[in-house]
């Protein structure tokens, strides 16, 4: 029994030592409950689902496109900080920093495989779903890829900020957490944004995935052209103009703070 207690104590102390991660975990649970509550409200609409009519009205296509897009959000938000964390754990970060390659490029190169793999996965899943379940799609590939690229650039800015924060906190980064949790909840991934109360819709309106997901669904599910989704594209481009420079600044801040504190290789 004493041994079990020692394991419990070790787990508790380790968890508390990563305070940010601990707090974010607790809040995540609360958000998860709210997400299911709104999903239930959405399903009560019955068989017609008027909220998704503009995306073709097919529930499976709506949910699958939302789910696949979430995997891109996850990669864009976490691949940079994942790369930093992985190099910290391997003890190789210092030597990469010392190399002739700028850290930003190292992060980008480290993430390329993640993006490529996610793209391959998403393409395969979409193909399988269409073949097996006969989900109706009207794919306009050009606009879809453009939306996806803009969304990735926009979120990569947030991902960079997240990588900067992870250099300081080591585990638990509130920026990526907030973006990922709020996007999953408020950007229309599993239910349309319109069923949310007004105040939550206002938060949804400032999240890049809301626009990206809407435009992506239009171009994949109802074959919308660039002209049809120009408004979403413009908002995404403007958001990218803010997130990328802000992300670079935040990353530089985290990097320099870790160098001031001498904790670059700490984890």
């Amino acid at each position: 029994m004493y041994k079990v207690w020692q394991f419990m104590k070790r787990g508790f102390i380790s968890m508390l030592s990563y305070r940010t991660a601990f707090m974010l975990g607790v809040v995540s649970m609360a958000v998860g409950v709210a997400q299911f509550a709104y999903m239930a409200i959405f399903l009560k609409e019955g068989n017609t689902f008027p909220g998704i009519a503009r995306y073709g009205g097919d529930l499976m296509a709506f949910l699958i496109s939302g789910n696949l897009f979430m995997s891109f959000i996850a990669v864009a938000l976490s691949s940079f900080q994942g790369a930093i964390r992985s190099e910290q754990l391997m003890g190789t970060l210092e030597f990469l920093l010392l190399s002739d390659t700028p850290l930003g490029l190292i992060l980008l190169y480290s993430s390329l495989w993640d993006f490529l793999w996610t793209l391959i996965n998403a393409g395969l899943i979409f193909t399988l779903v269409v073949l097996i379940f006969g989900v109706p799609l009207q794919i306009n590939l050009g606009p879809a890829l453009l939306v996806l690229s803009l969304a990735i650039i926009c979120l990569a800015g947030v991902g960079l900020a997240s990588a900067g924060i992870i250099m300081v906190t080591k585990v638990g980064d509130p920026i990526a957490w907030a973006f990922s949790t709020l996007s999953g909840f408020l950007s229309g991934v599993i239910f349309p944004v319109e069923i949310l109360p007004n105040w939550l819709q206002k938060i949804s309106a400032i999240l890049p995935p809301t626009y990206a997901l809407s435009a992506l669904r239009k171009s994949l599910l109802v074959g919308s052209s660039l002209l049809d989704i120009q408004q979403e594209l413009l908002v995404l481009a403007l958001m990218a103009l803010v997130t990328v420079p802000a992300g670079l600044l935040a990353f530089r801040w985290g990097f320099n703070k870790a160098r001031r504190d001498g904790t670059l290789v700490g984890y």
Binding site: M90, G91, E94, L98, G262
Partner: protein
Amino acid sequence: MEAIVIDHLTKIYHRPRRLVLDSVCLSIAPGEIFGLLGPNGAGKSTLLKILATLVLPTSGKVFVSGYNVVKEERKVRRLIGLFTGRERSFYFRLTGWQNLEFFGAMQGLKQPMLKRRIAEILDRLGLTAHKDQMYMEYSTGMKRKLGLARALLADPPIYLLDEPTSSLDPTSTREVHQIIRELKSHGKTVLLATHNLHEAEQLCDRIGILDAGRLLKVDTSQNLRAFFKETQIILKISHSLSPGRLNHLQGLEGVTRLVVQNSCLRVYTRDPRRVLDEIIRSVHEETALQDIQVKCPSLEDVFIRLTAG
């Protein structure tokens, strides 16, 4: 131009607040092997990391070949090869060769030059037979050698080596020493942080003694030993000397102190030639003298005296 210039460098870490480097000033010439000696926690690794741009100074200025380590960090990084001695600094599932190829590519080295360089260095370090082995299968000594190989890859002019021979066997230690000497013969500058006084004495042109963040003394090992000018005359005697006799010896001109331990009497003096005859004569009057040794101060003595405050 000096290879390294450190001007009143201070580093303070917060949480908990601790002064790691305290107004350190130092200049290292190109082609010099400079040894940084100090006990654990003296600030040696922090100093090396500041030079490598991995830690930012709190105050003071640091230049590597004239480039400021804070403002011109990319230029500085191109000039240095760092060895930290940490085992966890490679990709465990890549082979030794693949690891070097990866880090070489990151340093901007191109094929086929990179492959040639890796082969050459692995051969020099006796790792060729293990080049296709995964890093996690390497022994401690092999891991250290691979770390040194990485520092050598880009053939930079300045090397920062943090305890490169610790946990190496005597043969490997000798090989590493030979490589450091070769670096010097090729005009490279080496800053060698070490605990090993013998190593410092053997390899370094000058030695700096760092303790609790303060650079206490910088000089050649010969001058450091001469600095105290305290030679020990160790006398093995049959019986203890009387207090009067001890007072007499203590009072001799040139004798700085006496230490009596059982049948051993240590006389510390700055002028052994002047007092030796009188000491022997005086001791002989009271007791039989079984053995006598004259011991010049070692670097270890200097180190202990300095770091003990």
